[in-house]
């Protein structure tokens, strides 16, 4: 099946005062369980190439994998799309004696990449979050509201962000980001910081 996979917007792209790209198919596994359990921590490390269970509102990365803190009992494990079913099965196997649940949700969401110096501003226009360089840093993930829908945001580099939303609202979020990144609409609020 994996060769038939298409992402929500088939790689839509827009060049405004930042570059906006739909990131394509991304493997995602929702994992719920008790973070303090040693078995749980070991299972996460094994399936995520060594990326450990992140602290509150943090995201850890290793190789092609990332582990994001979603709530006190929920993690989102990201990996190459084709590997997600096997990794979800491996997690379920490793956690068979635990009160935990691992589900492959790779096709549930849409993923966007923002690249460019104005990325903080593009997001700050849309979310009720302080995106000032001192307030939002790499390694942090923020689940929030993007205009009318839920989204999660984290930094993939000093000037680049990744945005995740539900697939059903992918076109809406792309439109939002596109409008927010429209050339000429720069506010420059973070330019001096």
């Amino acid at each position: 099946m994996s060769d038939h996979v298409t992402s929500a917007l088939a790689g839509a792209a827009f060049d405004g005062f930042v570059q906006l790209r739909e990131a394509g198919a991304c493997g995602m596994i929702t994992l719920r369980g008790d973070f303090s359990s040693a078995v749980f921590q070991k299972a996460v490390g094994e399936v995520a190439e060594g990326a450990g269970v992140p602290k509150t509102r943090q995201i850890t990365t290793a190789g092609d994998s990332a582990v994001a803190w979603m709530s006190p009992d929920e993690l989102l494990i990201m990996c190459p799309h084709a590997e997600a079913p096997a990794r979800a099965a491996a997690l379920a196997q490793a956690l068979s004696g635990e009160h935990a649940l691992a589900v492959n949700v790779s096709d549930a969401r849409a993923v966007f990449d923002l690249t460019g110096a104005g990325s903080r501003e593009v997001l700050a226009k849309l979310c009720p979050v302080d995106f000032a360089p001192g307030a939002f840093k790499q390694g942090e993930i923020r689940r929030t509201r993007m205009a009318q829908v839920a989204a999660a945001v984290w930094m993939t580099g000093p000037d680049s962000f990744r945005v995740v939303c539900f697939r059903s609202v992918a076109a809406y979020v792309f439109g939002l980001l596109q409008a927010s990144a429209q050339p000429g609409s720069e506010v420059g609020v973070f330019a001096d910081t």
Partner: protein, 109 residues
Amino acid sequence: MLILECPYCGVTGEETEFHGGGEAHIKRFGPGSSDDDFHDYLFTRENPFGVHFERWRHVSGCGKWFHAARCTKTLEVFGTYSAQTTEPPSDLRAAISDKRPGWTWREFS
């Protein structure tokens, strides 16, 4: 505009990231209770001009329910606390007493 701090993820967010869930600490009266108790459980609510306790959900964030103590007169938020409790924590009640001496809300003061 309320600024609430989610006690589960630690985010200090503005009100539109959350969703109100009505009054807090409502004791359920189910099968076997009197009609009056059941009626009050379903319909009778506080409507204070001052200290109030509510349930909120961090709907666009971690998704968890929690409790908030706030003032309906000034929109000051006294604090937020875990959903896993049947009454406001004593330190929060003391903090409210410092700001609103003599406050009462249902059986709490």
